[in-house]
C-alpha cells in the first residue's frame, strides 16, 4: 500500500492583525480608573494587552475580544459598548464575503478545519453552492483519532485521457499504448489569481506551494520567468490563442500545458502531443451557452483535459451570466454521460471556488478536480481591497512577504481544505474522491426539491379558493 498522502501544515502567524467582527467602544472621559475591566472582568486580558496597531491605525483590542460582554455589563459608569465593526463589513464584496475572507485567513494561519461553536443560527439554504445539500448520513461513530485514524481515504485524481476499454492480443499484451496520465494527490490545482500586488513573488509562492502539495500551478506563459524554471515540473503554462510555440524552452520541462480554446486549438494540441507525447494538454473553455456542445466536441476529438471556467463569482460567462457554475458543470457532465464518453476526459472547473465545501460540491456536480485562485491570494492575508488594480499601495505589503512564509500559508489552506474533503468523504461513507464525481445521489438540489416536492405540496388544489388572511 502506498504511503498515506499527508499535507504538512505548520502554523504561520499573520503579519497583520485580523479584523474583528465586532468592536469595542470604551469612552475614556469619566472613566473611574477602577480597572475592573482590566483586572477582573476580561477573561482574555484584552484590556491589559491592547495596543495601537501602527500600520492599520486601529486598536488591537478587537482581535482579542471574545464577545463575552463582561466588560460591557461590569463597567460601573456604563462607558463600554460593543458594536459591529464597519471595517470588517467592508472586507471583500458580495461574493467574497467578510466571513469567507476571515475563514480563509484562519485556515491559512493554522492549517486546521474551522470549527464554530455549538448551534447554527443561519439559514439552511442560499443561492449558488448553498443550494446544494450533501448527504452526511454515514457519520455514525467518528474514530478517536479523527480523520487521520480512519481507513485510508484517497483524494487522488488522474488528469488525462482515459481509454474507454482495453484491447489485448493473443498473448495477453495490450494492443495499444495507453495515453499518459498525471496523478495528483488532491483534486485541487492552483492558479494565478486575477489580481494581486507583487505578482512575481506570488508566482514563486504558487510554484513552491504546488511543489509541496504535489499538484500543479497554472499561470500565463508570459509570467513564467527564468527564476521559476527550477519549479517547472509543478507549473503548467497557459497559452493564449495563437501564442503556443513548439520551440518554447519551458515545454520539455513541464508535465502539463494549457491552451485557451479557439478555432485551431485541436491542431495546436496535436502538434504539442506529437512533439511531447508525455505532456498533458488542457483546453480552457469558457462556461457559456456553447460550453456544453464544445466540451462534447472536444472530447470526441480526443481532448485529454477540459478546463471549464466561470467568473470569479461562480457565474457563467456570456449568455449564461445568470447561471451558477455548479449548474454549468452539471450540464457539461451530463452531456458527456449522454454521449457515453464521460470517463474519457478529465473535467476541471474554476471560478468562484471559495470554500472547502465548494470543492466537494463542484465534484458532485461532475468536475474531476477544481482550480483554486483567489483563495490563495486571500491566504496571504489579502483583503480584496483591489487597490493593486489601480497601482495603489498594498495595505498588507505583499511585496515584503517572504516567499517561504507565503507558500506555507497556501499549503496550510489547501491542507485544511483537503481535511474537510476527507471529512465529507468519510461522512458519506466514501473511500475515494474519484467516486464522488457526479454522485448526485449523495446530494440534494434545493431548486429541484422546491419544484418537485414543495411546489405540488403547497399548491392550491383545483377548485379550492386561495385562503385569505383572517378566514
Amino acid at each position: 500500500m502506498p504511503a498515506k498522502y499527508h499535507i504538512h501544515v505548520r502554523r504561520v502567524a499573520p503579519r497583520f492583525s485580523p479584523l474583528g467582527r465586532s468592536t469595542i467602544i470604551d469612552w475614556s472621559e469619566g472613566c473611574l480608573r477602577c480597572a475592573r475591566c482590566v483586572k477582573e472582568m476580561c477573561p482574555v486580558e484584552a484590556y491589559r494587552k491592547r495596543d495601537f496597531d501602527r500600520t492599520q491605525l486601529t486598536d488591537t483590542i478587537d482581535e482579542m475580544c471574545r464577545d463575552c460582554f463582561r466588560c460591557v455589563q461590569g463597567c460601573p459608569r456604563e462607558l463600554i459598548f460593543k458594536a459591529l465593526n464597519p471595517q470588517y463589513r467592508q472586507l471583500g464584496d458580495d461574493y467574497w464575503t467578510p466571513e469567507i475572507i476571515t475563514l480563509t485567513w484562519y485556515q491559512a494561519e493554522s492549517g486546521k478545519i474551522p470549527v464554530s461553536g455549538a448551534g447554527y443560527g443561519g439559514p439552511f439554504a442560499g443561492p449558488g453552492f448553498d443550494a446544494l445539500w450533501t448527504d452526511m448520513s454515514e457519520i455514525v461513530r467518528p474514530t478517536r483519532d479523527g480523520i487521520h485514524g480512519r481507513e485510508y481515504i484517497s483524494t487522488s485524481v488522474d488528469l488525462g485521457r482515459k481509454p474507454m476499454f482495453l484491447a489485448f492480443d493473443g498473448q495477453g499484451e495490450l494492443l495499444f499504448t495507453p495515453p499518459p496520465l498525471l496523478e495528483v494527490p488532491l483534486p485541487l490545482l492552483l492558479a494565478e489569481p486575477p489580481l494581486g500586488a507583487a505578482l512575481p513573488r506570488l508566482r514563486q509562492m504558487l510554484g513552491q506551494a504546488a511543489q509541496s502539495l504535489g499538484t500543479l500551478a497554472l499561470a500565463p506563459r508570459e509570467h513564467l520567468t527564468e527564476e521559476l524554471l527550477p519549479l517547472a515540473r509543478h507549473l503548467a503554462p497557459h497559452y493564449a490563442p495563437g501564442k503556443m510555440n513548439l520551440q518554447d524552452p519551458i515545454l520539455p520541462q513541464v508535465r502539463a500545458a494549457e491552451l485557451a480554446d479557439h478555432a485551431g486549438v485541436l491542431e495546436d494540441m496535436e502538434a504539442l502531443k506529437k512533439r511531447y507525447p508525455q505532456l498533458i494538454v488542457f483546453i480552457k473553455v469558457p462556461a457559456d451557452g456553447r460550453a456544453e456542445a464544445r466540451v462534447a466536441d472536444l472530447t470526441r476529438a480526443g481532448a485529454e483535459v477540459v478546463h471549464l471556467y466561470g467568473t470569479h463569482k461562480a457565474r457563467g460567462l456570456g449568455d449564461c451570466r445568470d447561471l451558477h457554475l455548479k449548474d454549468l458543470i452539471r450540464r457539461c457532465h451530463l452531456r458527456l454521460v449522454a454521449d457515453a464518453c464521460r470517463d474519457a476526459v478529465t473535467l476541471l472547473a474554476s471560478g468562484g471556488i471559495a470554500l472547502a465545501e465548494h470543492v466537494a460540491k463542484a465534484i458532485i456536480c461532475g468536475a474531476d478536480a477544481v482550480v483554486a485562485d483567489i483563495p490563495l491570494l486571500l491566504s496571504l492575508e489579502c483583503r480584496l481591497c483591489k487597490e493593486c488594480r489601480e497601482d495603489g499601495p498594498c495595505p498588507i505589503e505583499l511585496e515584503n512577504l517572504p516567499v517561504k512564509r507565503g507558500a506555507q500559508r497556501m499549503v496550510n489552506l489547501m491542507g485544511a481544505w483537503n481535511n474537510q474533503l476527507l471529512e465529507v468523504l468519510g461522512a458519506m461513507g466514501m473511500r475515494e474522491v474519484r467516486r464522488l464525481r457526479g454522485e448526485v445521489g449523495r446530494a440534494m438540489f434545493k431548486e429541484d426539491l422546491d419544484q418537485e416536492i414543495f411546489a405540488p405540496l403547497f399548491a392550491p388544489r383545483e377548485g379550492e379558493p386561495l385562503r385569505r388572511e383572517g378566514e
Binding site: W27, E29, F52, R54, D59, P86, Q87
Partner: protein, 134 residues
C-alpha cells in the same frame, strides 16, 4: 513622498465610504478612510499616534451631536478633538493638522462640504514637518 490624509469616519455619518472616495477624486494626496462604529471610538492618543506615524492631516467626521446613535458619542469626540488640538499646540506642533466636521446623516451636501474643507486645509498646511525626517 505623497501626502496622506487619514479620515476616521462614523459609519452613520458616512454610510457609503465609496461615495466619499469618489468625492475625493484624483487628488494627488492619498485618502485613507477608516470606518468606525461611532467617531468616539477613536481616542486622543490614537489621533496623536496617527499624526506621528503616517498622516499629514487627520480628520474626524462624526454626526451632528443631537443625532449621535450613542447619544453622547459625537459630543465626547468634539471635546476629545479640542483637547488633542490644545495638546498639539502645547508641545509646539500645528493644531490645525487635526480637524473635525459634523454632518447630518443622509445629507450628501454636508459630506461634499467636509471634503472641500479637508482639501483646503491640506493645501494650506502642506506636508507634515514630522515626516520630513525620513
Amino acid at each position: 513622498m505623497d501626502m496622506e490624509v487619514v479620515v476616521f469616519a462614523c459609519q452613520q455619518a458616512v454610510a457609503d465610504p465609496e461615495a466619499l472616495r469618489s468625492l475625493w477624486g484624483r487628488n494627488p494626496a492619498r485618502l485613507r478612510l477608516l470606518s468606525e462604529p461611532c467617531s468616539s471610538k477613536v481616542e486622543a492618543f490614537q489621533l496623536l499616534r496617527t499624526l506621528a506615524e503616517a498622516a499629514d492631516l487627520v480628520w474626524v467626521i462624526g454626526c451632528v451631536e443631537e443625532q449621535c446613535r450613542y447619544q453622547e458619542g459625537s459630543s465626547r469626540m468634539g471635546g476629545r478633538v479640542r483637547y488633542t488640538q490644545r495638546y498639539l499646540e502645547e508641545i509646539g506642533l500645528e493644531p490645525d493638522r487635526l480637524g473635525r466636521t459634523v454632518v447630518t446623516p443622509g445629507h450628501p451636501e454636508d459630506l461634499a462640504a467636509a471634503v472641500a474643507e479637508i482639501k483646503a486645509r491640506l493645501k494650506k498646511l502642506g506636508p507634515s514637518p514630522l515626516k520630513k525626517k525620513e
